[in-house]
């Protein structure tokens, strides 16, 4: 695999997402052995009646959550890009939460330290379980590739049909 495809994250296609929250349930079970969306590393957002979208860590380059931590409790793995939390160092101050534009890093309701998607070591359960196949475990480059292909397909719809 070329190195640009190292950082795989959980992407969501909002056109396919129906907001059912199966991802939340399976995530909380996988990580905490209980059904509880509050303990899920991926969260659904429904706006009005027609917009649904799940959100998980996007594995930012130079993740702002890591930069914001005053206690060096967060580290970003160089290869996979996942954010690792040192639970002994974290005191739940929440600066990382403020720094994250996506609400993807959260305070654990019991442990009172932050927690974030770790992609289940490259085999995310939410992607496996999504009934609508709205979740994709992929890289940003592939997301762009898919968008390009779909845009060109639309443009040349007539030609491709014949």
């Amino acid at each position: 695999m070329s190195h640009i495809h190292m950082r795989k994250f959980v992407a969501v296609d909002p056109d396919k997402c129906v907001g059912c929250g199966v991802c939340e349930y399976i995530c909380s079970y996988e990580k905490e052995k209980a059904f509880n969306p509050l303990k899920s590393r991926i969260r659904i957002v429904r706006l009005g009646l027609t917009v649904n979208m799940s959100l998980a860590c996007r594995l930012c380059e130079d993740a702002p959550c890591v930069a914001a931590c005053p206690r060096d409790a967060l580290k970003q793995s160089e290869g996979s890009g996942i954010v690792l939390v040192d639970e002994d160092k974290c005191n739940g101050c929440g600066w990382c939460i403020e720094a994250c534009d996506y609400g993807a890093i959260m305070l654990h309701p019991d442990k009172k330290v932050v927690f974030v998607c770790d992609t289940c070591d490259g085999n995310p359960k939410c992607v496996e379980w999504c009934p609508e196949k709205a979740l994709i475990f992929t890289t940003k480059d592939v997301v762009a590739q898919r968008s390009r292909i779909s845009a060109v397909k639309k443009l040349f719809y007539e030609v491709l049909r014949t």
């Binding site: 907001g19 059912c20 079970y29 905490e32 052995k33 209980a34 509880n36 009934p131």
Partner: protein, 617 residues
């Protein structure tokens, strides 16, 4: 306990006192949850013969043993049970979405709402903390506005709210309770019971874990159900949705049209599921934990009702469409949106408008009564106006808000003959004049006119039975589905998922045991379904209902289907109905008057309710 939270919350709205009680394991297993547990709790917490709007009529809210788990469709249900202001028997309505799961996570299997608050309030359940909050500022608001305001003022956007609208506040007898903006506990007028308690809304935030007894096997089973949900059993709900029924019913001559005047609608194409999906559906949503998703969100793209948005199912579509002789989808979507706004059951609302139109066509109502509205069948604008009048209880709407049965009594002049209802509850979109297996299910349904208590229409429509002639022994088929549906509504799994339990009670018993850890066999669960069916019957008998209430609408029994269609000429005579009821009661082990015998009551472990049938058997 696994699956269950093991707790019941009791809230006295008169005194403001709240307390929790344990849910005992044997009670849980015997009544499952949902409507089964709800009916039992209602019986145990009320006196016979109370007025539905009296503070003494408790409103019961329940979840099921699967609520709050990943169980597809089972994870998200809740039910309301109380004495219905429409039928004066037991009323129940379920809803899905996200509210039920949240209530389970807050740690409750049931909430018993007693008494009546002096002023408008809402209930705020924040895990173990339960508060009664002032709702003066919410009075008059729609359920959707109420939901938004409560989330904003309590400062948490994941709070789930079940609320009544202005109609519930005004004791409109068809008022419903709406959660998650578009999901309604719709039927039997329980929103009005909530309104009679001055209870505007129930807001819940639950943060506790929900655990099942055998998680690995449970997840394995859920995975199997996910696969099945992608298959043929649910394809209708995932594609066209229930509005697919329009053209099917039309071709079979069982699409009630113009208040059961016709059984075929000339405008069916324009209100079909096909047309709806092609032109209006913009998104299909799912409830919490569902693997099939069915919620067809439709938006009006142009015209006078541009921008109106509603979740559209067959029943409301039928009620405002064919039943009112209306062939305009924009009117139907707008009317459903208004029902959500005022908080009325869209099925009953559409029925009532159709009834009023029928009265107008027969000269029973005139422009003087309607406030100048030309209430002819097919007048879409008139439909919209009348729905608003019902929601606000304005003008004629004040009478119509009583439901067709009471409205007909008030209007008089023979309007009773045009009032299409059973036990006071308005009909649903099946012309049972030519669906005779369904007809017996409708007649005996404990909550009044309803297809969802028995599902027997499916046998008629699929051609598994002779739908024009009822023979001895047919009731057995109805009873089997009734008992299964009691379990479906008590576990609370969604009716749309019924086809994925390939082995029926076997699958559901396994589901129950894996979640709760309580051993349950298929036979035990079938028995439980029978127990719950009898329980509901006993509740109705306690409230004074009897064989005479197992009736069919007058139109169904006097007017043969007039259209040139396969069902032409079909209707149901009194003699036929009596034959059906005798057959049904006999197979139930009930007396000729439809009363469960002492023997039957004992057999089902309901001995403590024997007092209800004293002197009747």
């Amino acid at each position: 306990m696994f699956g269950y939270a093991g707790r019941i919350l009791r809230v006295n709205l008169s005194t403001g006192r709240t307390k929790t009680e344990p849910l005992k394991e044997d009670v849980a297993k015997k009544y499952i949850g949902g409507i089964g547990l709800g009916i039992r709790l209602w019986l145990d917490n009320s006196k016979p013969g109370i007025d539905p709007f009296s503070p003494e009529n408790p409103l019961i809210l329940t979840t099921g043993p699967l609520s709050g788990t990943i169980a597809p469709t089972g994870g998200n249900g809740h039910a309301f049970v109380s004495k219905s202001p429409q039928t004066f028997g037991i009323g129940e309505a379920k809803s899905h979405g996200f509210f039920g799961a949240e209530l389970k996570r807050a740690g409750y299997d049931a909430v018993i709402l007693e008494g009546k608050s002096e002023k408008p309030v809402y209930l705020w359940i924040d895990d173990d903390s339960v508060q009664i909050m002032d709702a003066k500022h919410l009075w008059g608001k729609s359920p959707q506005e109420t939901e938004d305001i409560i989330r904003e003022e309590l400062g948490d956007y994941y709070i789930r709210v079940a609320a009544i609208g202005p109609a519930g506040e005004k004791l409109c007898r068809i008022a419903c309770i709406i959660n998650d903006k578009t999901r309604a506990a719709g039927r039997t007028g329980l929103g009005a019971v909530m309104g009679s308690k001055n209870l505007k809304a129930i807001a819940v935030r639950g943060t506790k874990d929900v655990s099942v007894a055998k998680p690995e096997e449970f997840l394995e089973f859920v995975k199997v159900l996910h696969e099945r949900m992608k298959g043929p059993a649910t394809v209708k709900y995932r594609t066209l949705g229930t509005p697919q029924n329009v053209l099917v019913h039309n071709s079979l001559g069982c699409l009630p049209t113009r208040n059961f005047t016709n059984a075929v609608f000339e405008g069916a194409e324009r209100v079909s599921g096909e047309y709806l999906n092609m032109r209006f559906v913009t998104k299909i949503n799912g409830c919490s934990s569902c693997a099939m998703r069915c919620e067809h969100i439709a938006v009006v793209p142009e015209g006078p009702y541009k921008g109106s948005m509603a979740r559209v199912e067959y029943e409301p579509l039928w009620a405002f469409g064919p039943h009112c002789g209306v062939d305009r989808m924009d009117v139907i979507i707008k009317a459903i949106e208004l029902c959500n706004y005022y908080g009325v059951d869209a099925i009953s609302a559409g029925n009532i408008v159709g009834f009023a139109m029928d009265c107008y066509e027969h000269g029973i109502l005139t422009k003087d009564d309607t406030g100048g509205i030309d209430l002819r069948f097919g007048n879409g604008e008139a439909v919209i106006k009348v729905v608003e009048m019902i929601g606000k209880r304005e003008g004629l709407g004040n009478i119509l808000a009583e439901g067709v049965k009471r409205a007909a009594e008030i209007i008089g002049k023979g309007a009773e003959k045009l009032a299409v209802h059973i036990k006071g509850l308005e009909m649903t979109g099946y012309d049972i004049r030519g669906l005779k297996t369904a007809a017996v299910g409708y007649a005996v349904s404990f909550r009044g006119a309803d297809h969802n208590r028995h599902g027997a229409y499916a046998l008629d429509i699929a051609g598994k039975t002779d739908r024009f002639k009822f023979e001895k022994g047919r009731s057995k088929l109805v009873i089997e589905i009734e008992d299964l549906y009691m379990i479906i509504d008590s576990l609370i799994v969604c009716k749309f998922s019924r086809g994925v339990y390939y082995k029926g009670f076997d699958d559901l018993a396994r589901y129950y045991t894996l979640a709760t850890g309580l051993e349950m066999t298929a036979e035990e669960l079938r028995r439980t379904g029978e127990r719950l069916s009898n329980l509901a019957r006993l509740a109705n008998i306690r409230e004074g209902l009897s064989r005479k209430d197992d009736h069919l609408p007058i139109k169904v029994m006097t007017t043969p289907i007039p259209d040139e269609t396969v069902s032409k000429g079909s209707y149901i005579t009194q003699e036929e109905l009596d034959f059906m009821l005798d057959d049904y009661y006999a197979h139930r082990g009930w007396t000729k008057d439809g009363v469960p015998t002492l023997e039957k009551i004992k057999e089902l472990g309901l001995e403590d309710l024997a007092y209800i049938v004293e002197g009747k058997v």
